[in-house]
């Protein structure tokens, strides 16, 4: 029964996505185009593509799922369907799990297609495992979904929900270490970046790309990413109120 409600929700979210093939196409095609652009832009310095290609591949799903989930959940709130669900025999955890399953599957599709392109056609090379890169991409997608779910509670219109992307995602992107190594940042920026989950997601990806070292720091990275998913989901669940004003 528990699994039933989560599975039913996953099927329902999947059906909604299927009715919107253009969104699915954008989610899959846009990262492919950007990876290709990156490769071509740095045709003269191939080491740049080798350096940022894998982390970027792993971080795209975070951004896509953040936006898609925050808008989907906002619709659920404004259309009244969330209120209906809250009067029905559905546990919040099943609703969240249903969303998680559906978007993680979409992330698997996205990560697989982008990986095939980057590792196959574009000649991206990682010292570590390509599967690990894809697995981290899916974990990041679930993290993006969980954060999107949470922030949707603070948006009242779809415009606001979309603006949360630059507000919540861009600063993490700038500070995660991809553009400037964290060692080279001012102390206060490094301190801030230590509190941002994407910093750990990036570090894990960079380590896989470099083929290690898989020491304590790598374990911390993975634990922080998984822990952030749990925290964001708990916060998201707290915003699903059975009673509202």
């Amino acid at each position: 029964m528990i699994a039933g409600a989560a599975a039913a929700t996953a099927v329902r979210v999947g059906q909604q996505l299927r009715r919107d093939p253009r969104t699915i196409a954008l989610i899959v095609v846009v990262p492919c185009v950007l990876e290709t652009l990156l490769k071509e832009m740095f045709a003269g310095q191939p080491q740049v593509f080798q350096h940022v290609g894998a982390p970027l591949l792993g971080l795209f799903p975070f951004v896509s799922m953040f936006v898609v989930t925050s808008v989907t959940m906002l619709r659920e709130r404004t259309s009244g369907t969330l209120e209906r669900l809250m009067t029905m025999p559905l546990r919040k955890v099943d609703l969240l799990a249903g969303y998680g399953i559906s978007f993680a599957l979409l992330a698997v599709v996205q990560a697989t297609v982008v990986s095939l392109l980057a590792f196959g056609l574009l000649g991206l090379d990682v010292a570590g495992s390509q599967v690990a890169v894809a697995a981290l991409a899916v974990a990041n997608a679930v993290l993006g979904m969980a954060l999107g779910l949470f922030v949707s509670a603070f948006a009242t219109t779809e415009f606001q929900a979309v603006q949360f992307m630059p507000a919540f995602v861009l600063p993490q992107f700038l500070l995660c270490g991809l553009l400037v190594a964290r060692e080279d940042m001012a102390d206060w920026l490094r301190v801030i970046s230590a509190f941002l989950p994407l910093t750990y997601a990036y570090d894990a990806l960079a380590k896989v790309a470099a083929g290690g070292p898989y020491g304590t720091r790598f374990v911390v990275d993975v634990v922080v990413v998984l822990g952030s998913i749990a925290v964001a989901l708990a916060l998201g669940a707290a915003t699903l109120r059975r009673r509202t004003g």
């Binding site: 409600a5 259309s79 009244g80 209906r84 009067t87 059975r242 009673r243 509202t244 004003g245």
Partner: protein, 219 residues
């Protein structure tokens, strides 16, 4: 919003909640199904506190907003809600028939009229065969023929033991209720059957009944 309200709703009957918009009808209904934050007071439904987990299978609710997925088909919507209630797919088909949407089962809601979407929402509330049905303006935007059919359905459900609480701001619908609760500015200004209220106020139509009640109560 709602102040000093005390009332009981008889089971196996259609109780109408009428009054001007902004009078507290929806707030009262939301409180009964347990989605409204209440500052104080106590609401029991079927002997349990409103909104308790045990009631979620026993109380059906149709909100004023459509509260169905407009990017899914009629059948996809109802199948999802049926799975959450843990009822069979046969109920989906019978609910579609009940609200006369047999020809539109596979139509995506975006491509249905407002009245048709409202019927999907009603069908979703009927799926769990609840003991108490709380329907917030279920017949808005429906043609007279369909309205009559739905009111007949409400009475059939009441005869089989379902308790219905139906809000409306149309007085000819109030006429079809077994009992009425008239709400204005968050206060219950009158209760009784349509006949009792007519006798008490000496008015003929329920519109006049309502006007007299409002005038004697004062602002």
């Amino acid at each position: 919003m709602l102040d000093g309200l005390s009332l009981e709703v008889p089971s196996g009957a259609v109780t109408g909640l009428v009054g001007p918009s902004g009078g507290g009808k929806s707030t009262l209904m939301r409180a009964i199904v347990g989605v409204q934050v209440v500052a104080g007071g106590r609401i029991d439904v079927l002997g349990e506190p409103a909104g308790s987990a045990a009631l979620r299978r026993r109380v059906g609710y149709m909100t004023q907003s459509l509260s169905v997925y407009s990017d899914l088909s009629v059948r996809e919507n109802l199948r999802y809600f049926a799975r959450l209630y843990g009822v069979g797919q046969d109920r989906v088909e019978s609910a579609i028939g009940t609200v006369a949407l047999d020809d539109f089962g596979n139509r995506v809601l975006n491509r249905l009229s407002g009245g048709q979407k409202a019927r999907v929402s009603l069908a979703a509330a009927l799926l769990g065969e609840p003991e108490v049905l709380v329907l917030d303006e279920p017949t808005v935007g429906l043609d007279p023929l369909l309205r009559r059919d739905l009111w007949n359905l409400f009475h059939r459900l009441a005869e089989s033991g379902t308790t219905l609480i139906v809000s409306s701001h149309v007085m000819d619908e109030a006429e079809r209720c077994d009992g009425l609760l008239i709400l204005r500015d968050g206060k219950l200004i009158a209760t009784g059957s349509p006949d009792e209220l007519r006798a008490r106020t000496g008015a003929h139509g329920l519109d006049d009944v309502f006007l007299r009640l409002v005038e004697t109560e004062g602002p």
